[in-house]
């Protein structure tokens, strides 16, 4: 497969004895957006910096569009990066910031500024060229950073937590903008975030990392519906992880014994035997205690507007449950039956 925009082959990056990135391999197809997702310290940012050339790998091989760039410095890789802090040069105005890469690349100032002005227009920033970065709002600064990266027509565009400095309302719009832009221009993008919702919303491919290794990679739906282990299940949205015994599982339905109760639920095929089972909070329905299901008692209940959240004590352990606000409400202390509608068997 030579048409991968980025190819990591068993790449390792060690700082002293610490392996920040440990034996990581993945391919990013042309024009796709891959998200590196994981908690802080998982190696996702180091992986991005390896792509950028800001770190050089200790072992392994990195290709960009079929060319081995493993030993190439950042300046020679023809990538562009949008930094978490945006890294706009405070002593240059917006236009100079955007034209910077063209100017240091040897373009004539007039041509560079014409290109930069056009790019500012594309991103809806016309008229702001003479401002200093400090005079812009957070969202505008973010778009300047994107314009500065795009104006170089990079082979690959890298985003390091681009939304983390924006307020919650803006985040959603900006992430949609980024996704639109990526699709419209057919860019190959690597995107780092620790926010699973953000990852689900924008990605073609998600790589979940833990302790420098890849925990699981796949499409957003694969990762959400079929997480490989408890870590991924919990990280891709919340999950109740229970111990249970699979009695039978075939044709999309299974029979499982949990907390002394036998339950029937949607489930992918799995050999019989004890297993760790994940249940998403929204896949649990609360019913009157006389109905079939895992018996329990509501310990805490909270109303959140669109949803209600419950903590229910059962014989299998505490369950976190999210129900639509339109569903029946339960008071704290009420006895209920928990109906598990979908169960995800996990790798041991």
């Amino acid at each position: 497969m030579t048409d991968a925009a980025i190819r990591f082959e068993r790449v390792t990056k060690a700082f002293g004895v610490v392996r920040a990135v440990d034996d990581v391999s993945f391919d990013l197809p042309q024009g796709a957006l891959v998200t590196l997702l994981g908690p802080s310290g998982c190696g996702k940012t180091t992986t991005l910096r390896l792509v950028a050339g800001l770190e050089l790998p200790t072992a392994g091989r990195i290709e960009i569009e079929g060319r081995d760039v493993s030993r190439l410095a950042a300046a020679e890789r023809r990538i562009a990066m949008v930094f978490q802090s945006y890294a706009l040069f405070p002593h240059m105005n917006v236009l100079e910031n955007v034209a910077y890469g063209l100017v240091v690349g040897g373009a004539r100032r007039q041509a560079a500024e014409a290109d930069a002005t056009a790019m500012l227009k594309t991103l809806g920033l016309e008229g702001l060229g003479a401002r200093l970065p400090a005079e812009l709002s957070g969202g505008q600064q973010q778009r300047v950073a994107v314009a500065r990266a795009l104006v170089l027509r990079p082979k690959v565009l890298l985003f390091d937590e681009p939304l983390s400095n924006l307020d919650a309302r803006l985040r959603r719009r900006v992430r949609e903008d980024i996704r639109d832009l990526q699709k419209r221009l057919g860019l190959s993008v690597v995107y780092v975030t620790h926010d699973q919702q953000e990852a689900l919303a924008v990605s073609d491919l998600v790589v979940v990392m833990k302790d420098g290794r890849i925990a699981q990679k796949g499409t957003p739906i694969e990762l959400y519906d079929a997480p490989a282990d408890a870590f991924v299940a919990d990280f891709m949205g919340e999950a109740n992880v229970l111990q249970g015994e699979v009695l039978s599982a075939a044709d999309g339905r299974g029979c499982v014994a949990i907390g002394g109760v036998v339950l029937d639920a949607a489930m992918r095929d799995h050999p019989p035997g004890t297993a760790a089972l994940a249940v998403r909070p929204e896949a649990i329905r609360l019913a009157p205690p006389e109905e079939p299901g895992l018996p329990g008692r509501v310990r805490r209940a909270a109303f959140l507007g669109q949803t209600r959240e419950y903590e229910v004590d059962t014989d299998a352990g505490a369950l976190f449950v999210v129900t639509p606000a339109s569903a029946e409400a339960w008071a704290e202390g009420a006895a209920v039956a928990c109906r598990l509608e979908r169960i995800i068997p996990l790798r041991a």
């Binding site: 800001l54 802090s85 040069f89």
Partner: protein, 723 residues
């Protein structure tokens, strides 16, 4: 910059050094150059062709060896580096082997026969050495060291070589000189010198004889440190917490010592308290208190040192007091503590690290001070003056001077080691990122009175001292109370006549011109090199970074007197002979003031997010472009501070350069010290006033040109330098 480009540049420098520039040092300036390409100014090629330097043919061979693969662009890194190393080693070693009296290394006689004498290396030699450095850097970069960036490689290798040559080698020379007796290595002489009674005698405890010079130095340093810290603390508490409306006076008091040559205060003290001084005379005439020479000795030197050190203590401690988050004290108040209890249990413990730092700084500055003990010391000798007289006194005893220098160095390093031990263990951060809306607690009443009773008289005293300096140059004879206005002293020093154009008749013009010239040349070099080194140390990772940082900071800890002695010992004979030139003054200033530029730069870089550098790199800019377009513009305040600092220090320094000046290149401070020794007090004061005015003008000019920045003294914390 690519490695090949650097290699070719180095080659070009080497060729200029070979074909054009005079190979040996040229004495007699421009006149000798007229003999080019023969005589003293002959380039190496001419010397090779006439056969007088036949052993230098390998230089041509090595350059050619590098050129053949380099020009078509096929040079391997290993080859370039090896050629560079060989060239460097060869040129330096042959310079040591064959000196002013012909062959010096006898064991080379079978190979070299009896070569003619050769002088020190000149610009040609320097260019070839620079070419060697360039080739080494290009070779290392080609092999992928320093991230493959030839520019960084050249900076690291070049600055490393310079620091080795001008900081480390002189130190080694002085250390070894202490162990040499009559030209032979004699460890017993070293031991005897280090343990000499002149250093360690305790005679003053039991008899009227003086004590050892080490005890004198220690006593003075401890007294100076404690007094200046206490006075500084009183001012700091008053200024930050006393509710005093005298900020301009406080500011002026902190500014003045920075732009005053260190010994000028001594002159004022003599004028006030000398045998015929103003105060002395008044006391004699009004109260019949007999005239005495008490000012010459420990009391006078101590007063002078405290006068210049207390303001620095004030600046440091005021910063520390203001940095204490008021909410900490408010918290204590809400828990029911009374104001004085709060001060004793909260404020004071938080101040202790700053006070300790201040004490150590005062201690080290006193150890290094040379001007005041020289002018006011009388029979009270300290290490720095004793070192000077061992070199410049009646008997020239370099071995003894070196041993005393080692003792002084040991005291200084001891103090720094103590400081880092202490600071390593405790560091309080009271300024957090969170806003602190509290109001600083006012001082307890008793404490406020105590501070005031120290600060206000001291303020009056300082004003008197600087008042003397201000008017001393413009009255007939301030030393004898003759206060009639006159231009006489200014004219003696700075008369200008019109006689077929301008003629600078005054006796001080020569030294003033040299001083300004040397300061103006060394300041940009210091600032530039300092900022570059700061950038290397803070932003690049490369093998040997720690060593480079150590070498940079080393010169900070070496007292000026030691530097001066080590420079005349290290650079007095071929192959590197610099004594008597203006170049050695420039080099001395550059490497003595470098650490402050580096510290200021590192502190400023810490404020600039590294992602800016990285963003520039991802957009295709190399290290040189990133430095030029992003880092340097953002570092402007630090550059201004470094410029102003190094300029002022080049104009006010005495201790190191008093060993290095010559009849042709005299400096203002040394000239003034000479006037004082000749008893021409008024001329000395007049000259000092002119110096202060020049420095003020330059500092304000630099600030206007490149924006405001504070100047700090030697060890003011970096934060102040970039504020």
């Amino acid at each position: 910059m690519g490695a090949l480009a650097l290699g070719r540049l180095a080659l070009a420098a080497g060729l200029i050094g070979l074909l054009l520039a005079p190979w040996h040092g040229v004495e007699g300036g421009v006149d000798a150059l007229s003999a080019w390409p023969g005589g003293d100014a002959a380039p190496l090629l001419a010397l090779l062709l006439d056969g007088s330097r036949w052993w230098l043919w390998p230089v041509v061979g090595l350059l050619g060896f590098a050129a053949i693969p380099l020009l078509p662009g096929r040079a391997s890194g290993g080859l370039l580096a090896a050629v560079g190393f060989a060239l460097l080693a060869f040129v330096l070693l042959q310079g040591h082997a064959i000196g002013l009296r012909g062959l010096r290394w006898g064991w080379l006689a079978p190979l070299l026969g009896a070569p003619p004498a050769q002088q020190a290396l000149g610009w040609g030699g320097a260019l070839v050495l620079a070419a060697a450095i360039g080739l080494i850097a290009a070779g290392l970069a080609q092999r992928g060291r320093f991230g493959g960036d030839a520019f960084i490689a050249f900076l690291v290798v070049g600055s490393g070589a310079l620091l080795l040559l001008f900081v480390f080698v002189p130190l080694l020379v002085i250390l070894s000189a202490a162990a040499v007796e009559d030209g032979h290595l004699a460890p017993s002489a070293l031991a005897a010198r280090l343990a000499a009674p002149e250093a360690w005698s305790l005679a003053c405890v039991t008899s009227h004889q003086g004590c050892g010079v080490v005890w004198n130095t220690l006593l003075l340093a401890i007294l100076a440190a404690v007094s200046s810290t206490l006075i500084g603390l009183a001012f700091a508490l008053l200024s930050a917490r006393g509710g005093v409306r005298a900020q301009p006076a406080f500011r002026a008091m902190t500014m003045l010592p920075l732009i005053t040559p260190p010994f000028v205060v001594s002159l004022a003290l003599i004028v006030l308290f000398g045998r015929t001084g103003l105060v002395t005379t008044a006391l004699w005439e009004w109260f019949d208190i007999p005239r005495s020479r008490w000012i010459y000795g420990l009391p006078g030197v101590l007063l002078a040192q405290v006068l210049s050190q207390a303001p620095i203590a004030f600046v440091l401690l005021e910063g520390a007091v203001r940095a204490i988050g008021p909410s900490l004290e408010e918290a204590a108040l809400t828990m029911g503590a009374r104001r004085f209890t709060v001060f004793r249990t909260v404020t004071w413990p938080l101040l202790r690290p700053a006070v300790a730092a201040c004490l150590l700084l005062g201690f080290v500055e006193s150890l290094a001070d040379f001007g005041n003990p020289l002018v006011l010391g009388g029979d009270f000798d300290v290490l720095s003056t004793r070192i000077f007289f061992a070199i410049a006194g009646a008997r020239h005893e370099p071995g003894r001077a070196a041993a005393l220098a080692i003792l002084l160095l040991a005291l200084t390093f001891g103090a720094f080691a103590l400081q880092s031990l202490w600071l390593g263990r405790r560091r309080y951060t009271t300024v957090t990122g969170k806003g602190d809306a509290g109001v600083p607690a006012p001082l307890p009443r008793g404490l406020r009175l105590a501070c005031g009773s120290v600060a206000w008289p001291w303020m009056a005293f300082t004003a008197a001292v600087y008042g003397i300096i201000l008017i001393g140059g413009f009255v007939h004879d301030i030393g004898r109370g003759d206060m009639e206005f006159t231009w006489r002293h200014i004219l003696t020093g700075f008369a200008v006549e019109w006689q077929d154009g301008m003629a600078f008749r005054g006796s001080a013009w020569d030294s003033l011109f040299t001083t300004v010239e040397v300061a103006a040349i060394s300041a940009p070099i210091t600032a530039g090199l300092g900022i570059l080194l700061a950038w290397l140390l803070a932003r690049q990772s490369f093998p040997g970074r720690g060593t480079l940082e150590f070498l940079t900071m080393l010169s900070f800890a070496i007292p000026g007197t030691v530097v001066g002695v080590s420079y005349i010992m290290a650079f007095n004979e071929p192959p590197i002979e610099l004594t008597g030139t203006a170049l050695i003054l420039v080099l001395c200033f550059v490497f003595r003031n470098l650490p402050v530029g580096v510290r200021g730069g590192i502190a400023a870089l810490a404020q600039i997010d590294k992602s800016l550098d990285e963003a520039s790199a991802t957009m295709g800019a190399g290290a040189l472009q990133t430095l030029r377009r992003v880092v340097l513009p953002l570092l402007r305040p630090a550059i201004v501070a470094a410029l102003a600092y190094s300029f002022v220090h080049a104009m006010t320094a005495v201790s190191a350069v008093i060993f290095l000046v010559s009849a042709r290149h005299n400096l203002a401070t040394v000239y003034i010290v000479g006037r004082v020794e000749a008893g021409e007090m008024a001329l000395a004061i007049a000259y000092s006033t002119v110096l202060i005015v020049v420095m003020l003008a330059v500092v304000l000019g630099i600030e206007r040109l490149v924006g405001r920045a504070q100047i700090g003294r030697r060890a003011a914390p970096a934060g102040n330098l970039v504020a």
